[in-house]
Amino acid sequence: MADIALHDHGAHVSSTGLSNNKLAMWLFLGSECLLFGGLISTYMLYRGRHGDGVGPAQLFDVPLTSVSSFVLLMSSLTMVLAVNSAKRKDDRNTNLWLVTTGLLGSLFVGAQVYEFTAFYNEGVGFTTSLFSSSFFTLTGFHGVHVSIGVIMLLAMVAIISRNKVAGDKAEAVEMIGLYWHFVDVVWVVIFTLVYLIPA
């Protein structure tokens, strides 16, 4: 267990030797599992309930979503490269990869906005049926998560450029990375359960 010697190393010492921020982030992600779990379950329960209206099978444009899923997946790669750059204290590349990640994320959100509009035009609105309400809520929540991620990424870029990072820069990037990957992982699940598995 933590002994006195440990304290002699100065700042940022913790009983586990782990960073407070990272621990907090993982706890938060554990908690998010139950949030998305609830939304996904609601969707699973209600996906077949659309009365005579349009259901998932008729509605989804799998090729389009596949492309956007792919985009999001690749943003995880660019994110991880940003984290690696940050660990090497390479600000230039960090910023480059962060911006790329942000762009890929925006692309994904853009595709989602497009998708939602298309669905709406086909007569499937938020209030149309149980299926549509739970679909829009689930994917909308995910979209909001991605958007928040994009904002964090861009804010990070701004802060790094101005050298205003409070605390450990690499860690700050890593934290955003954890969040970002988690959002991606949620989409991996949503993509399969919602879009690919036939209702």
Binding site: S15, L27, L35, Y46, R49, S129
Partner: protein, 670 residues
Amino acid sequence: MAIIERPSVIPAAVGGAGATALATPSSSLGVFRRPVAATGWRSWVFTVDHKKIGIMYGVVSLFFFIVGGCEALLIRLQLAAPDNKVLGAGLYNEMFTMHATTMVFLFVMPMAAAFANYFLPLQVGARDVAFPRLNALSFWMFLFGGIFLNTSWFLGGAADGGWFMYSPNSSRLFSPSHGIDFWVLGLQIIGIASLVSSINLIVTVLNMRAPGMKLMNMPVFTWMVLVVQFLLLFALPVITVALFLLSFQRNFGAAFFDVDKGADPLLWQHLFWIFGHPEVYIIILPSFGIISEVLPTFARKPLFGYKFVVFSGAAIGFVGWGVWAHHMFASGLGPVSVAVFSVATMLIAIPTGVKICNWTLTLWGGKLWFTTAMMFAIGVIVLFTIGGLSGVTHAVAPADTQQTDTYHIVGHFHYVIVGGAVMGLFAGFYFWWPKVFGKLLNERLGKWNFWLMFFGVNLTFGPMHILGMQGQPRRMVVWPEKLTGEGFFNLHFWNQVATWGSFMIALGVLVFLINIIHTAKKAAPAPLDPWDARTLEWMTSSPPKAHNFDAIPTVHALDEFFHRKYEEVDTEHGARLVKVKSAEEVLAAEEARADAHIHLPSPSYWPIVLAFGLPIIAYGVIYNLLLSVVGAAIVLLGIFGWVLEPSVADDSDYDPPAGGSETKELSPVG
């Protein structure tokens, strides 16, 4: 020795030696000067000190306890006689909904947070929580959420769907007032507050323990609070989902609980109780923790089977996730699910039984000192056992189909909650009051407080077991004359007893309030270690200094403080425990090796600003989305200021360091 405390008087004002160092005070957003007041209201409103935040949590929740209690008294008055007319049907429904919501979310949970905030860092030997500003944020969100929720009373009526707000009765169609909107959004805000604070406290416990404090050296209170934070962490998102679904339905026309469109009302029940059952352990475990501190102290003997108590606490935390559907035995789950959940529910009596047995065995062979705190703690054992055992009778699913939604259930949960959780919190008040305020609560008034509450609880909630089995359902504004019966178990008599009992509890609480005032006005300062206590929080001055410990203690054992005071000494009768050092001596030894420089996180405007934005967003959702935009802007401003503000203000704002770079920060971000 230059211990840099939290902003004290600004050196410039004092003049003298270090005054010149005050060059450019750090500012927030480059405009405002950072708050640095150490006295006056500013020192509370902008504080990030876990102790001040703890006290504020305590004051606010005590206030809400009285609000919720007065609601309960109105309920009891209405039920004192058949076909009574104190409250109308609509008002009655609002009353019990808000009574439960207030008591659960605005009293017991935040009061536990008050204790946790104040004592967790002290018990693990830390100087503050891991994220002090987030801590302040949690408090303000709770306060604003609570106020927001209660403004519904004046804005067209409070929520009237019962505290578990079953759908579809909670739809706009069936409850057209804004009450339920307030309820949903208010709980959402309070929920975020708890979620944030749960992460904060978990990190604090895991990461900020004093050297030598292994997990298995942690005081049981710390352990139980840790389990509670995990329960919160994982249970809150579930209710968050449920609340989102409901507010999307009510405010934006989503179909989730619209049966005409094929919705299944049981979805809400599952989501609510997946949260709701862990919630009841969230309510009880802090109190279990408190009495696990109180009993050993006054039995002068370590907690019997510390490890068993800790593991059973964790076990309760886990098993508590697999039993939620015992609230739905009559909902039509089908026999398979009912049987499974019935058995799972019984399982939970085992770890709880372990605790009861170990507390009893802690008393066994001890040297019992019946202070008020001790009496409350023993009261918890007695009353919780009664409530727990009636819980087991509900777990028997066929029997529960007779009991559910009757006063039998109301009896069960008030025994475990009022007799278990609330009495435990009172034990905590009496036990830790001298620590927090430096004065002992009056013991004579304390005894009155205890006996009034103890008998009051039995008189109020004991008869409810009878009433329920005699067929009086809950949530009924009136019970009819014609179903009263005339035997020993007639409804009229026992309802009256319950009402008298509730006033007896109120009297007890009143004595407590009087005791607070009396103590504040009269009492002399308490001795340093009035109870001959055992754990770290007593190894510092009362009230503790801003930085908690002059030197972070090194921990060698469970009950560290006790072991520093007592040692085994050989006598002619064999080994004997003898007090070798007084508390003052222990403390002096610690002070002698005080840390040179302590940087504490500095006060901040942003937590309260950010929190203030949330109810505005919520009002906007109800009345006009434009208002939400304003609220969101405030929140964004808060986040922006927050992120750009270092958690520790520049030295120049305070007493400048005497020299050298050796400083200890608590937290780089947060």
